[in-house]
Amino acid sequence: MGVSERITAVDVVKVAKLARLDLSPDAIDRTTAQLAGMLEHFADIDALDLDAVQPMTQPYPLQNVFREDVIVAGLDRDEVLAAAPSAEDGRFRVPPIVGIDA
């Protein structure tokens, strides 16, 4: 499948749900058109023969970077909870949880 495959409003609705963005019907249409335009432009890479090319995920080749298993003082709970939208009893408060996602 090529990059140029056309994105539809159905795709955009699904993606908005995945990304947890509450988009209005207008925004869905606008986004569909904009993403379609971009993806069309990005189709330039479909012309490249990439079969033998290894993906590059890391700009600088490092491996085996560790920290030692030693405690370092962490954050102050009161300072952190003071910045929370809602807190109670030393914890972060949220509305009812829907969907078990994992």
Partner: protein
Amino acid sequence: MSEIYTAGPATGNEILIDGYELVVGLEVHVELATVTKLFSASPNRFGDDANTNIDPVTLGLPGALPVLNRQAVELAMRIGTALNCTIKPCTFHRKNYFYPDMPKAYQISQYDQPLNVDGYLELPGGKRIGVERAHLEEDTGKSTHFGGSGGRIHGSSYSLIDFNRAGVPLVEIVSRPDVRTSEEARQYVSELRGILLAVGASDAKMEEGSMRCDANVSVHKPGAPYGTRCEIKNVNSIRSLGRAIEYEARRQIELIEGGETVRQETRHWDETDGRTHTLRVKEDADDYRYFLEPDLVPLAPSAEWVQAVRDAMPMLPGARRARLSAATGSPADGEAIMVVVERGQDDYVLAVAAAGGDVGRALVHVKEGFAEEGATPTVPAADLAGLTTLEINGAITATQAKTVLAEIVANGGGDAAAIAKAKGFEAMDTGSLEAMVDQVIADNGPAWTKYCGGEDKALGALVGAAMKASQGKADGKLVTALLQSKRS
């Protein structure tokens, strides 16, 4: 819940439930016994006040970056080695999903390149359960639900989140679908727990959640392809695991027999009603958008490190059982050896033997009398050796030995011979034993008549009477033998 079926022996694929074969794969999550978290320096500690073990990484604060805990890798490698896995160069991925206890809205886990692959776990009876992988990942925080009934998520009006557990290192051990009975599932988890404790990778407490078990269960007719599987979550004990699998198998069979199909879904085991309930149907919307974690670099343990972990492997439960079996002649998967090795008292049993004691009697006494003792009982091995020697020499009876053992255990040691003497324990000599048996026959005419008339059940009453008359000094086996010889 009534027993749905009786599990048979723990080997072979031949066990059918109403003509269906059961297939189970197990996913076990274990929290590693590190001092700090997988990617940050907050304490990995259970039971602290909410949100006291937090740092920018734990909370997923903007700008925070993960750095891998070397000891977590070491412990994960120990698990892989103990499960006969190949330790491989590996990477970390992001698993993206929104949930309030998942601070970054992605979990750092291992995806297509896990640390440990292709191992197996050998059940006590010898069957091998394949281990597909054992990979590193981070734990989530904990939600507590309020306003609903009984702390359940459904119908709650709000939840409170504690992130102390977020970022605690986990190893997820994924078995191949090689488990065929609920008993094998129980054995697998129990054996795995023993291995985790042996290598010091985890405290593996199911009740505290440091070991959590999910079961993928399906059923199919022999020869048919595997059925649709359901994942069972919230199994909080080894006993529940068996119950949950049995219930789920029955549920699926009933669906199929009723002409319905099994839906692929995640189900929640409810301990109180003994059933599984639909938690979540697998949907297209489950799209975790895995991609390589750009904030971490690949992990490729050196050959030296892998070898050092291998060299430092302690003796694992299976090998300990085999060793004790060879020493005692008892079966390796028999109850006595299973129990004693699980308690870690096998070294002690062998120490009793080394101190000149009888290893077979030592095994029985340790199993029966040392339940409250740890891996290193306070009773000196030589004291227990002394007791077994008295027994073997016939100086005291098995019943008397039990009494002496209780006193030795209560006192944390003691000279068995001295205690036996103080209690007036001495094995009766053959002459007085025979005289006593004759007296018992005389006193229990009707029973003796019955016994001689072929009613073997009457023997028990006669032996009992003899033991009573001897005040426990008679050896039950000798009394039985005497009575038998007098009948013929």
